[in-house]
């Protein structure tokens, strides 16, 4: 959408910008909660151990660390009973055959029970939170309200719809403040060693959430590049410096290309995994020839480096609570913490944007769309920072039709393979040096891979240097 708007030269109205920010902010709130509780937590939380917890001690722990609206002995007893009934049924469903009891699980049973209870609560909370998208976008997933030139939800800019949105974002934010962040800190306190594992070197954020027509100046999550962990030296990020390599990817072509001239021509064959050759469906995106991590950690580091007050204060508070240095941010723990930090900060801002919309409507501006003409020839770029990370779309228009369209998505940046020069992708780099207690049960590898919130069911191939045995770990 932004790429086409850039190509045709249309500026969207203020209401459209705010509604897009509301949708985007709601996406951060929703998506990160689901990632933390449902796609990442079981790497750290041993559900089976929760059966051994003392509900009274769990209630005390919960009272001590969180402001969750649920708690008390009876509550944790009932959660534990529900879990016990489930286990006793002999049908373990999605909890079957996992790494329960693995020595890398460090939480005491009570913390495991508390986290499991919140895992279940978060399942319901996220379904409610997704209603924010349906209010302006008709449905979630895949909302439909975006058109080139603005948004379409003219009939939803009413007091009751806006109030409904405000109520849900507040309820979601209460969960983030009172449950997600306390859980994150409680779990992290048992895994501080992960503040030195799973880090990468370079970070890219296109930034997003424009607070005015001015970009990138007004982006709430700022744009920038950090090379070699130099947080003090955040550089401006320039989309012309992006190339995609296919030397190690199952595509035709040799030269790295900028997305405007990019090609996506899959090999006309059954692709084979080759350690020395091509081994991935992902291309290898590079910025100035270097691989870059994108996502919550990249955005947080860029905002921190630029001294953005909300992010800086929250990061410093998390670091001091955990008693770890800023260097611990460059890690699996840092990545998972950064996700929580930006959820808190973005989620807090959403309520202000709701009021911005209200004020603008009150002032008599109800415009949500700007008309435009399709030019015969044009090109455009749309830069976004979605929950998973930096996302760029590039379009070339010729004869009023699409001549070329390429997009470089967060998981390509993070999980892409080596480039023509043999430089590793971020996840490849992050996995080096990961301690693995049992190569046949590489829970530790999952922790780092999942911390990137990969948008692919990816095959990670790990070689044990002693036996040279290849273990394939499917990170789901």
């Amino acid at each position: 959408m932004r790429a086409v708007e850039n190509a045709v030269g249309v500026k969207i109205p203020k209401n459209a910008r705010i509604i897009r920010n509301l949708m985007h902010g709601a996406q951060y709130q929703h998506d990160h909660i689901v990632h933390f509780y449902h796609l990442h937590a079981l790497d750290w939380v041993d559900v089976v151990s929760a059966l051994k917890a003392d509900p009274a001690k769990t209630a005390a722990l919960s009272d001590n660390v969180s402001n969750a609206p649920w708690g008390g002995v009876a509550y944790f007893k009932s959660v534990q009973q529900r879990l016990q009934t489930f286990v006793d049924s002999g049908q373990l469903g999605p909890f079957s055959n996992a790494y329960w009891g693995h020595p890398a699980y460090k939480l005491p049973p009570e913390a495991n029970l508390m986290a499991t209870a919140h895992y279940i609560e978060a399942l319901r909370l996220q379904a409610k939170a997704a209603r924010m998208h349906a209010i302006f976008g008709g449905k979630n997933p895949h909302p439909q309200h975006l058109v080139v030139g603005g948004v379409t939800c003219a009939n939803d800019l009413t007091a009751d719809r806006i109030a409904e949105f405000l109520y849900i974002t507040k309820e979601t934010q209460d969960f983030i403040k009172n449950v997600y962040i306390p859980d994150l800190l409680a779990v992290a306190s048992f895994y501080k060693d992960w503040g030195a594992i799973g880090g990468t070197s370079n970070f890219l954020a296109w930034g997003d959430l424009p607070l005015s027509e001015k970009e990138p100046e007004s982006l709430f999550m700022p744009r920038g590049v950090i090379m070699k962990r130099n947080i003090a030296g955040v550089m401006s990020a320039d989309p012309t410096r992006v190339t995609e390599h296919v030397a190690r990817s199952w595509y035709e072509g040799k030269e790295p290309r900028h997305p405007y001239t990019g090609e996506t021509k899959p090999l006309q064959e059954d692709p084979k995994y080759a350690t020395e050759g091509k081994y991935s469906w992902l291309k290898a995106p590079r910025y100035d020839g270097e691989s870059c991590e994108v996502g919550p950690l990249a955005r947080t580091l860029v905002a921190y480096g630029l001294g953005r007050p909300e992010i800086k204060a929250t990061v410093d508070k998390v670091l001091s609570t955990l008693g770890v240095p800023a260097a611990a941010l460059f890690s699996t723990l840092g990545r998972t913490a950064a996700r929580g930090i930006e959820t808190l900060v973005v989620g807090e801002a959403v309520q202000g944007w709701v009021m911005e919309l209200v004020e603008n409507l009150k002032a008599g501006d109800s415009k949500i769309y700007e008309t435009w003409e399709m030019p015969d020839k044009a090109q455009g770029v749309g830069l976004n920072d979605v929950p998973r990370g930096s996302l760029g779309h590039w379009i070339v228009i010729d004869g009023k039709k699409i001549k070329n369209y390429q997009y470089v998505v967060p998981s390509t940046w993070n999980l892409g393979p080596r480039c023509a020069k043999g430089k590793m992708g971020p996840v490849e780099e992050a996995l080096i040096g990961t301690p693995v207690a049992d190569p046949k049960k590489p829970l530790e590898v999952l922790r780092t891979v999942h911390s990137f919130d990969p948008c692919i069911a990816c095959a990670v191939h790990v070689i044990d240097p002693d036996s040279n045995e290849v273990y394939k770990i499917k990170a789901l």
Binding site: V34, H38, L39, R82, F86, S89, Q91, G93, P94, F95, S96, N97, A98, Y99, W100, L123, R124, Q126, A127, K128, A130, H133, A134, I135, G137, G138, K139, N140, P141, H142, P143, Q144, H145, V147, V151, T152, C153, A154, N155, D156, P266, Q268, D270, P271, S366, I368, Y369, E370, T371, K441, P442, L446, A457, A459, Y471, K472, I473, K474, A475, L476
Partner: protein, 314 residues
């Protein structure tokens, strides 16, 4: 309320479900499925506490996981109830805790243990060109896995447009030769069409199976009639504007603000079979036409090729 009934609701409340919420769900679901209200107590029974939960093996192929995301937005029953108390989701790559070899082993064990008894839910299209080489999990092609697992299932439910009809993977030029499950394997499947489908239609299909012991009545392309028996246009709240010749011709116009018919900005409602306007999405919050956006026809086969360019009158 008799004693037994009271015990039943107490049990439900022990699971965090109020009687009112529960009956609201049962009524809603029974209506969605087109069953008479006499079925309401039976629907309630299905969700009470089955002796053995029906095993489900959920396969992911070429897809975006939007259908799993849609499924976890289910309300009444909530997804935690579906997973912990109603169904036995033995294999589901997005939500399962196991990974790697242990996940593969779990799939194998579940298929053998529940042979002929499990429901196979498929999300995603299947690559068929180059021996299925464009789509693999754990070194096995989607095609191989689908053949092995679907042939041992009690029934195959395709959740979403990709597994039903191939969707965007199968749109031109379709380099991997992607197809829906039915077409790739030459079998009959229940197709919960849509990108993604409304979870209520998936849940309704499952309930039909649990309640009546069989899958629901289908149209000629495998879609349950209770959900896909009529077009969007048939039940559209903007239908009156269509009949009166009141159309939106430009987004953002006065006509758009009046909520006129979206036919001239490309609405595919007249050719699209689905119940979006009746049940709506996310607990009845809204649906695309209510949000002022034309229906793109996402539950019709080949809509990417046949219904594009979007935003232009048919």
């Amino acid at each position: 309320m008799d004693k037994e009934e009271r015990a039943f609701y107490e049990k439900l409340e022990g699971k965090g479900v109020s009687r009112r919420d529960f009956m609201k769900f049962c009524t809603f679901l029974t209506a969605t499925m087109g069953l008479s209200s006499s079925f309401i107590p039976k629907v309630a029974e299905v969700f009470a506490a089955p002796a053995q939960r029906t095993p489900v093996i959920w396969l992911h192929f070429g897809e975006c996981t939007g259908c799993t995301e849609a499924a976890i937005r289910a309300m009444y029953p909530w997804i935690d109830q579906l997973v912990l108390e109603v169904l036995d989701v033995e294999y589901q790559e997005t939500i399962m805790a196991a990974a790697g070899h242990q996940a593969e082993e779990q799939l194998h064990n579940a298929v053998e243990k529940y042979k002929g008894k499990f429901i196979c839910v498929v999300e995603g299209a299947i690559a068929t060109k180059f021996n299925g080489g464009y789509g693999k999990v754990a070194g096995k092609t989607f095609l191989q896995t689908a053949k092995e697992v679907c042939s041992k299932a009690a029934g195959v439910i395709c959740i979403g447009q990709c597994s039903s009809y191939g969707n965007i993977q199968a749109a031109k030029p379709n380099p991997g030769g992607y197809k829906g499950v039915g077409a790739a394997l030459g079998i009959k499947t229940v197709n919960i069409a849509g990108c993604p489908p409304n979870p209520i239609n998936f849940v309704g299909t499952i309930v039909n199976y649990l309640l009546l012991g069989k899958l629901p009545a289908l149209d000629d392309i495998g879609r349950p009639l209770f959900a896909y028996g009529q077009t969007i246009h048939d039940n559209c709240p903007r239908r009156g504007h269509f009949e009166s010749g009141e159309f939106v011709e430009v987004f953002g116009s006065k006509e758009a603000a009046e909520g006129y018919c979206l036919f001239k900005v490309g609405c595919r409602g007249p050719e699209t079979y689905n119940n979006c306007s009746i049940v709506k999405f996310n607990g009845g919050t809204s649906w695309p036409v209510q949000a002022g956006h034309p229906c793109i026809g996402c539950s019709q086969p080949d809509f990417w090729d046949k219904f594009t360019p979007f935003y232009q009158e048919l």
